[in-house]
């Protein structure tokens, strides 16, 4: 009888699942991020030279190029310049004055993008990696009208300077620099181009070599070395090479930051300035801020930063004789400071952002033109943490002698990118989330308490459970006054929204879990899955120095507590609700419930070999064959509840699933042969229980794999050959104890088994589907008890989406070359077709574009029907999924008003009819008497 109900239910599931219109934009959320903007590549620029409206352009640490609307912080357009996740050392973004294109340089590619809509105008590959890209601001009559040319410097075997036509991207001339010196940067004046190279002397010091080229012909005009003597030990001490200013200059310091040396490019002399020490703490870095326009005044600002304070000096360059003079100083202030340069006609303005105010000065004099106090940056930070500005970009509008309005974007030490207009926060982009490495979901402690209570009731005898429930309700009565107060509000909300959206009350559905993200910068950032628009907390946990990295591992074993640990380190626990560290420090223990009776095998990847230890002695090792490398290894999740241990067939017999908690899917590749090997291992004994080989695989394209319950799935791309064309394939395999119905296989009904002593092999059914595009990552929905059917989540990097494939659509038991029998139809199996088209309704992102997703994390909600999904990488995307529909919660389609209206109508009818009926009955009695 149960099976009939099950088959009836499964019939209901066959219609494909979809994102409902009323759920789109409502249960899902998306942050279109760029990543932390880099100082040199973030600026205001007018995309349309005839209009004054400007956009903020940035090329971020993640090599995402984008334009942000300064009014609301929304993304206008975005291009990912390094999709394969390679971190290039240098990246450049330049915008010529009055140009409607921005020119980027990342890796080996120089590209011009339309500033208004981000379309590619042209692109050019260079032989070596790019060292610098600049725009030739001053016209020499050789350009195509309206487009300024670009120059690029690339290193590699043949360091080259190239002049690129601004309109077409064609190379006008190129000059190969001789010698073994490393190219460093480019500068241009009105007649000449200066290539600055780093020459290493025998003593290990660095000398600057300048090669002067003719702008028009690209021929070498001159070459000289700057005798920096023995003071320049590394390139890190070169603080600036100004490029496109009226008088480009090079500035460097000695390693102790005691003197600043400035050379105006083109002059062979240099000037030194003593750096006055204002502070006990040593100077940490020196930065030069100079205007980026040829027709602005040749003034520049030098910013000195110590651990506790900062100050700055402003210098003027005399254009006639190349003399540099110190004009004035900006006083020392506590904390970190950020300076930005803006221009208005020829005038140059420096804006200083400190912890508590923004001030603007003109480069000509030290008089403050505008001062705006800052109370707060409006971002969430750890308790006691001082939010500091890291770098800023400003746009000033000047009326007379005062700055009438100022817009400043600031990257803060918390990783937020904020916009301030006249010192007031306008928007805030949580760019730190773009560098999320790992995430976990933590149930808030109050939600978990109810779950625990319910579990106690479920596991005790009926009388005790009843007593417990009465006690719980009595305890709940204490909250009655507060509930009564909020009741009117809740009723109103209930009318307007739905029960599922009522997030004011405590979260009984488990939708409001805390999502904790560990970022590459060593911070923990928490979001609320129920109201993801704001950051709940943001703390610095790793305190990484520049150049350091960490490998965080997050877990939430106890409700309300998140534990973070770096590789092989001790874990620190944090309160999931407010991010406060808890006092106890716990050692790292493997995830999941500890079964005392079971023996623990630990396995890890070491030098491309999978090694396992049992009781601290090596148990087994899986070494790939010669020439093979381990690509991926996916174990079955430690906590993977399965409701039914068998599959009920249409004729009510059972196919038993091969359910072993200790299995893992391994993918290895043999690059020389172009083959991919798939293994399913028993992680206790190391035995291979299933293997498969695919030949002709394009190994440059990612192979995604997943393992869950008793099935696995992987996708790969096969190379074009004589027999087959290039295509993407998805393979799904399901493991059974026996293919004979009602048979539990070799072990029969034994209740426990040892993976080391008994070797059982599952019977595996696999099916391959041709899919339309590459899958870069696979994930699967998880629910609390595993009753709900599964959805396979596939990240599609080419269409910037995530697709949720119902398991029924890829079931390996779909009948091949014949129509399904009646029994198979009852199971919901349809005839196998080799091509699996992604139904548009399967796309979880609907209209959104989700760029750069690296991983998808799923977590069960408290109600069985729902699984929470969180995708991260560059963008952040999250949603709730109900693969078997929301069978345990009222959806939005439930019409509360109609229900209440029906009840009310019935009540009214009863009231009207009751006296009539009463009178009739009385009348009848009289008549009978």
């Amino acid at each position: 009888m149960l099976s009939t109900l099950l088959t009836a239910a499964s019939l209901l599931l066959v219609p494909t699942l979809a994102v409902f219109a009323d759920e789109a934009w409502n249960v899902d959320y998306h942050f279109a991020l760029l990543g932390a903007p880099k100082e040199e590549t973030s600026f205001f620029h007018q995309p349309n030279p005839s209009s004054r409206a400007s956009l903020i352009y940035t090329l971020s640490e993640q090599h995402a190029l984008g334009a942000v609307n300064p009014r609301d912080g929304s993304l206008v357009w975005r291009q990912l310049l390094s999709s394969d996740g390679i971190a290039y050392r240098n990246s450049f973004l330049r915008a010529g004055e009055g140009q409607d294109v921005v020119i980027s340089g990342v890796g080996h590619e120089v590209a011009a993008w339309s500033a208004a809509d981000g379309r590619l105008v042209w692109s050019l590959s260079t032989e070596g990696p790019l060292e610098d890209v600049e725009i030739l601001e001053l016209s020499d009559g050789k350009e195509t009208a309206g487009a300024k040319d670009a120059i690029a410097l690339s290193s590699g075997a043949n360091p080259t300077v190239q002049r690129i036509d601004g309109a077409s991207g064609a190379v006008k001339w190129q000059f190969i620099i001789d010698g073994s010196d490393a190219p460093y940067q480019l500068s241009a004046s009105s007649t000449q181009i200066f290539a600055i190279l780093i020459h290493k002397t025998i003593l290990g010091y660095v000398k600057l070599r300048v090669v002067v080229l003719d702008r028009v012909t690209g021929h070498k005009v001159d070459e000289y070395s700057l005798s920096s003597e023995n003071e320049l030990s590394t390139t890190e001490n070169i603080v600036s090479v100004g490029a496109n200013s009226a008088s480009p200059m090079i500035a460097w310091t000695d390693s102790l930051y005691t003197t600043l040396k400035v050379n105006v490019v083109g002059m062979k002399s240099m000037q030194s300035f003593d750096i006055a020490s204002h502070d006990d703490s040593p100077i940490e870095h020196v930065k030069v801020h100079a205007p980026y326009h040829v027709n602005s005044l040749s003034h520049f600002l030098v910013h000195y930063q110590t651990a506790t304070s900062h100050w700055a000096d402003v210098f003027h360059i005399n254009l006639k004789n190349g003399k540099v003079e110190k004009a004035y100083s900006l006083p020392k202030l506590a904390g970190r400071g950020a300076f930005s340069t803006s221009t208005s006609d020829a005038n140059v303005y420096f804006t200083r952002v400190t912890r508590d105010e923004i001030t603007t000065v003109s480069s000509a004099s030290h008089g403050v033109l505008g001062r705006w106090p800052l109370n707060t940056f409006g971002v969430v930070a750890g308790i006691g943490e001082q939010v500091e500005p890291i770098h800023a970009a400003s746009e000033v509008s000047v009326k007379g002698d005062t700055v009438s309005a100022i817009r400043t974007t600031i990257l803060l030490s918390t990783g937020d990118w904020v916009m301030l207009r006249d010192g007031k926060g306008i928007w805030n982009r949580p760019e730190m989330l773009a560098s999320t490495m790992v995430v976990t979901f933590a149930l808030p402690a109050d939600a978990a308490a109810l779950v625990q209570q319910l579990e106690v009731e479920a596991h005790s005898n009926p009388v005790a459970a009843y007593a417990h429930r009465v006690q719980r309700h009595l305890a709940d009565l204490q909250r009655l006054p507060s509930i009564i107060v909020s009741l009117p509000q809740q009723i109103v909300k209930g009318f307007l929204g739905t029960s599922a959206d009522d997030l004011t009350a405590s979260d009984t559905f488990g939708f409001r879990q805390v999502i904790v993200c560990a970022t590459r910068e060593g911070r923990l950032v928490a979001l609320d899955a129920g109201s993801p628009d704001k950051i709940v907390w943001n703390v610095n946990v790793a305190d990484l120095q520049p150049g350091q990295s960490w490998e965080p591992y997050l877990a939430s074993r106890i409700a309300g507590v998140v534990e973070v640990s770096s590789r092989a380190g001790a874990g620190i626990q944090y309160n999931a609700t407010n991010g406060q560290p808890l006092a106890e420090r716990l050692p790292v223990v493997p995830e999941g419930p500890q079964v005392p009776s079971s023996q623990v095998v630990l396995y890890t990847v070491h030098d491309g070999t999978l090694e396992a230890s049992y009781n601290r002695t090596p148990a087994w090792a899986f070494t790939p064959m010669h020439g093979e490398r381990l690509i991926d290894m996916v174990p079955r999740p430690v906590n993977d509840p399965v409701a039914s241990i068998g599959k009920v067939l249409g004729d009510r017999r059972v196919l038993y699933k091969y359910l072993d908690s200790n299995i893992a899917l391994l993918v290895t590749a043999q690059d020389s042969m172009g083959t991919a090997n798939i293994y399913v291992l028993s992680t206790v004994s190391g035995a291979i229980i299933y293997s498969n080989v695919h030949t002709g695989v394009d190994l440059t394209i990612p192979i995604a794999s997943i393992m869950s319950e008793n099935w696995f799935a992987y996708s790969f791309t096969n190379e074009a050959s004589d027999e087959a064309s290039k295509g993407h394939q998805l393979v799904v395999g399901e493991l059974f104890e026996s293919l004979v119905p009602d048979d539990r296989g070799m072990m029969g009904a034994t209740t426990n088994f040892s993976g080391m002593q008994t070797a059982t092999e599952p019977f595996v059914l696999t099916q391959t589907y041709q899919i339309p595009e590459v899958i870069s990552k696979l994930a699967v929905t998880r629910t609390r008890q595993g009753i709900t059917s599964r959805q396979l989540l596939a990240v599609l990097p080419d269409s910037n989406g995530i697709v949720g494939i119902p398991y029924g659509a890829v079931d390996p038991r779909r009948p091949v070359n014949r129509d399904p029998t009646k029994d198979e139809q009852a199971e919901g199996l349809v005839r196998y077709t080799a091509v699996l088209e992604f139904d548009p309704k399967w796309f979880l992102n609907h209209q959104r574009e989700i760029v750069g997703v690296k991983n998808v994390f799923t977590s069960p909600a408290l109600i069985e029907s729902t699984s929470l999904v969180f995708a991260y990488g560059l963008d952040i995307f999250g949603t709730r999924l109900s693969p078997s529909f929301s069978f345990d919660i009222l959806g939005k389609d439930f019409n509360k008003l109609q229900m209440l209206a029906t009840v009310a109508a019935l009540a009214v009818a009863t009231f009207i009819v009751a006296p009539l009926v009463m009178r009739k009955q009385v009348d009848q009695r009289w008549r009978f008497l």
Partner: protein, 128 residues
């Protein structure tokens, strides 16, 4: 008089069997799907014979022969009556089985079967 009573009692005993073909046709026509009509018919199919058996004594009391010698065959009518009602019940059970409501297959007991407990557990170490 007793002979007449006995004859009437026999008629009563055979009566459920006369309804069997009609019931069988009715059951066949309603199909094996779970619908309100078929459920009601199956319910009636069970209710009628059971109430008939339970109220057998009052039903047959009218035909109780006074003669001791006829007692034996009167008992026989009662037994035949029970048997006929059991036939009707059997028809009901056949129908319920056809509807898949009898827990006769492995899948009906699947919920009470548990997965095998592994004696060892393998965990990915740090970094995996």
């Amino acid at each position: 008089m007793d002979t007449l009573k006995l004859k009437k009692a026999w008629e009563l005993a055979i009566a459920p069997a006369k309804q069997l073909p009609m019931n069988a046709i009715g059951m066949y026509m309603t199909g094996n799907s779970l619908q309100i009509f078929s459920i009601m018919m199956v319910f009636m199919l069970f209710k009628t014979p059971i109430t008939a058996i339970l109220t057998m004594q009052p039903t047959f009391a009218r035909f109780e022969p006074g003669d001791e010698s006829k007692r034996g065959s009167f008992w026989l009518t009662k037994i035949v009556f029970i048997a006929m009602n059991c036939l009707a019940l059997a028809l009901g059970i056949w129908k319920v089985n056809g509807m898949g409501l009898l827990p006769t297959t492995r899948s009906d007991w699947l919920a009470w079967e548990t997965a095998r407990e592994p004696l060892e557990r393998a965990y990915p170490g740090p970094g995996l």
